[in-house]
Amino acid sequence: MQNTMTISFNALGENEAFSRVAVASFAAKLNPTVDDLAELKTAVSEAVTNAIIHGYDSNPAGIVYISATIEDGEIDVVIRDEGRGIGDIEQAKEPLFTTKPDMERAGMGFTIMEHFTDLLEIESSTSSGTIVRFKKQLAGKRANCVK
């Protein structure tokens, strides 16, 4: 059976921890491994940070939307903002590329999301904002480890 949750919150840095913990708590019913849960939290944190500092330029009036669906042991997460959008997605995905070097951004957000999830999709428009979607298989992996 499919199970969905949605949350939305102001683009405040202090909400980053809340957002990744909320998604991780929702995913916990799939009994994921500690490493998989850490990877999921990291991917959420990267996408939410991007929405806040790039999408909304750290303007707390912006709203970040997250929806997550669990089905067949997999979590499907959609993180959306209505901010300025990404002009060149391929360039943004390049490791170490950042538009904010002055803020000591590592430029590793999308690289980390790609490595820590099973499937990453990015849609963006400079008029309507950015949608980041990723999927991660969480249940049923533990059985493979039993010897």
Binding site: D35, S45, E104, G109, T111, F116
Partner: protein, 120 residues
Amino acid sequence: MVTMKAEARGKVLIIRLTGELDHYYSEQVKEFTEQQIEANQTQHLIWNLSGLPFMDSSGLGVILGRYRQVNEMGGSVTVCGLNTQVKRLFQLSGLFKIMYVDQTEQEALNRLEESSCKTR
């Protein structure tokens, strides 16, 4: 929440972080460490991350920024006490190519002590 502790041993500065290091706390960690490096005239920096169960790329940015700071003075950066998730972030970003990695703070201190003996 992140708590930060600093201990200077001569030219070596140890920064111990506990908590979850994300964008929200990265500015505080940056300012604290930057000030400690200047106040102690640090040459070699050791990050003890054994109390850090979570970090994202904002943390990598701060650590890279401080690498640039001490590297300009001919110093080195060591990270120790990394958990699996944090270690993977370092691997993905290539930071292990420019920084030392040790299991524990003591190992890092021993290595720095040995290298300073050799150059004496």
